[in-house]
């Protein structure tokens, strides 16, 4: 009979205390798993979506809001900017490529983005079927949009006013699905792309009705929402943002800086939760230690009997260490599984499709959680195991 089986059966003979220990460790590990998965996925999304964009230029306001609305499509834009000013900036010698964005409409909550062919090269978009948008009111949709909205090439749909789902449809102009993007693994999976003229067309009526359309200034001057800039040279990093912020009525925001700022803001909460989870893990380790230590007192006679039956000191040491390890590793595995399930549940209720998280991915850092479980197991059982190793069986037997 192996020491593992002896330890295993000993754990099963105390289901309540063993269950409590496993639950405590699982709870701590579960929180750590959620934090690990969520922060990794958020960081990945931030990096994936902004990797080739050096600067975003838009209306004055919060730079973070500008980044969130123009790169991650999860906030409202800070306003619109004149197309004339945007064109001037696009031709600036510091700029290699400028991609215009015109936001303002949605389809069932999915953002409709008016842009040009620069957007295709900026994100390296590939088609799954159909073609890229070309004529007015043609749309190329992200792979998730096609799946979730049940749209296919040739289908038509009406955009609605605003960036969140509502009933204010532009019923005079139907978009036609020209193509579906292959999965990109970034924000474009959840977007509807069209040309800027289509977005303007939708809002011409607004101009006619109330004289102040979203994409026009009422005098026929066109507007867009923002510009995604790629620099021509490293020199641009220093010169161009200053030029925009000081020389124009526009605002520039760096995705790298704002993402870092955003992450440090989230980071405070993440750190707090992380310490909380570590505290729970520590309590769990102490609980396993107390459990083993107390059970050792109760089992000292059992262990002495085992020695009289021929068990070596080392065997008793291994049996106790294994008990600690089985408890903590079981707790860690349950915790990792719970963490994944909880994150998947959170993702299910997430409103924003752009920042969608998932519990169905495994990352290599999770191995560290298992290693932490191992370390806690050894930490919690080493003292009881040493005591079992050193116990004076003659004394214990004589006492009993």
């Amino acid at each position: 009979m192996s020491p593992f089986k002896i330890s295993w059966k000993s754990i099963w003979s105390k289901p309540l205390s063993s269950g409590l220990n496993i639950m405590l460790i699982a709870f701590g590990t579960g929180i750590l798993t959620i934090l690990l998965l969520a922060s990794t996925q958020i960081e990945e999304k931030l990096n994936n979506n902004s990797k080739d964009i050096d600067l975003v230029v838009g209306a004055k306001g919060s730079p973070l809001q500008l980044i969130l609305s123009s790169i991650y499509y999860i906030d409202f834009p800070t306003g619109n900017i004149p197309l004339k000013d945007a064109n001037e900036l696009s031709h600036n010698p510091f700029v290699k490529r400028a991609t215009p964005l015109a936001l303002g409409d949605n389809y069932n909550g999915v953002r409709i983005v008016g842009t040009d062919s620069n957007f295709i090269s900026l994100y390296g978009l590939k088609l799954q079927s159909g073609k890229f948008w070309n004529a007015d009111l043609e749309a190329t949709i992200g792979t998730n949009v096609a799946k979730e909205q049940n749209l296919k090439v040739g289908d038509t749909f009406f955009g609605a006013h605003g960036l969140t789902e509502n009933k204010d449809l532009h019923k005079d102009h139907a978009y036609k699905v020209a193509g579906i993007l292959a999965p990109q693994g970034n924000v474009t999976d959840n977007l509807i792309l069209t040309n800027i003229a289509s977005v303007w067309k939708m809002h011409e009526e607004d101009v006619m009705e109330d004289g102040k359309g979203k994409m026009e200034d009422g005098t026929g001057n066109r507007e867009i929402t923002s510009l995604l800039i790629q620099y021509r040279s490293p020199m641009s990093v220093v010169m161009f943002p200053r030029m925009v912020n000081q020389g124009t009525n526009l605002q520039s925001a760096s995705p790298a800086m704002e993402s870092t700022r955003l992450f440090s803001l989230i980071g405070v909460g993440v750190d707090t939760l992380q310490w909380f989870a570590i505290l729970i893990m520590l309590i769990a380790a102490i609980s396993v230690f107390v459990n083993l230590y107390n059970s050792l007192k109760e089992r000292s006679y059992d262990l002495a009997i085992m020695r009289t039956l021929g068990a070596s000191r080392t065997k008793l040491f291994v049996i106790i260490i294994l008990e600690g390890l089985i408890l903590t590793i079981a707790g860690t595995i349950v915790g990792v599984a719970l963490g994944h399930m909880a994150l998947e549940l959170i993702a299910h209720y997430q409103e924003s499709s752009q920042a969608k998280l998932t519990g169905m991915v495994f990352i290599t850092s999770e191995v560290y959680l298992l290693l932490a479980g191992l370390a806690i197991g050894i930490f919690a059982s080493i003292i009881p195991a040493m005591q079992a190793y050193r116990s004076n069986i003659s004394k214990i037997l004589a006492k009993n």
Partner: protein, 209 residues
């Protein structure tokens, strides 16, 4: 042959106890008689290799047990000495069969289910093979503890106060079982007790003053 030669032991702050020399031929059945506090348990622990005497030598079948390394002594004990305690202390988390398998594995012997069945059969508790100790009566537990002691066919079978808490009828029954099992397994039997009721059952007696 089992022999005890010039053995002296002392605990901290107590007077040393000298044990008279003792020679036991294989297969003999001995009574170790002595009042409480006379050193019976100490002598049993010395004989079983769990308490090294301050001086003297213990030989079991030509092996000087205290010259063995700690690991080898543990294995030697597992293979050659079977111990029955006053209370039949079994491992509660294991079934009866597993309690016996445990003894085989500690002695590094192959798992022998046939032998387990044979011993449990001879003690009339085969039907409790897969039961847990908590479901057995005191008498059944005592039988299992005897089964555990003889499972590896030890050369020496030692029982520490096996009858002291039993009434006359049960004391006789346990003693008969012990003698029967030591005979069946060709083991030397030493029964340590202060219970004078069992005196007549033995032809050899080692008395402690």
């Amino acid at each position: 042959m089992i022999s005890l030669k010039s053995v002296v032991h002392s605990y901290k702050d107590t007077k040393p106890i000298s044990f008279k020399d003792w020679q036991i031929n294989n297969g003999e059945q001995w009574l170790l008689l002595g009042e409480s506090g006379s050193g019976k348990t100490t002598l049993l622990h010395i004989l079983t290799g769990i308490l090294k005497p301050k001086q003297g030598e213990v030989n079991i079948n030509q092996t000087s047990i205290y010259s063995l390394s700690s690991k080898n002594l543990d294995q030697f004990r597992g293979r050659n000495i079977g111990i029955i305690f006053q209370r039949p202390h079994l491992i509660k988390s294991l079934t009866i069969a597993e309690n016996l398998l445990l003894v085989q594995s500690f002695a590094k012997l192959p798992e022998d289910h046939k032998r387990i069945d044979e011993v449990l059969n001879s003690l009339d508790i085969i039907h409790k093979k897969d039961a847990y100790p908590s479901t057995l009566s005191q008498g059944q537990l005592q039988r299992v503890s005897i089964a555990r002691a003889v499972i590896n066919k030890p050369a020496l079978l030692i029982a520490d106060e096996p009858t002291s808490s039993l009434d006359d009828k049960n004391a006789t029954a346990v003693l008969e079982l012990l003698m029967e099992q030591s005979g069946l397994n060709q083991a030397t039997l030493i029964v340590a007790t202060h219970d004078k009721r069992v005196k007549d059952a033995f032809t050899h007696t080692y008395s402690l003053a």
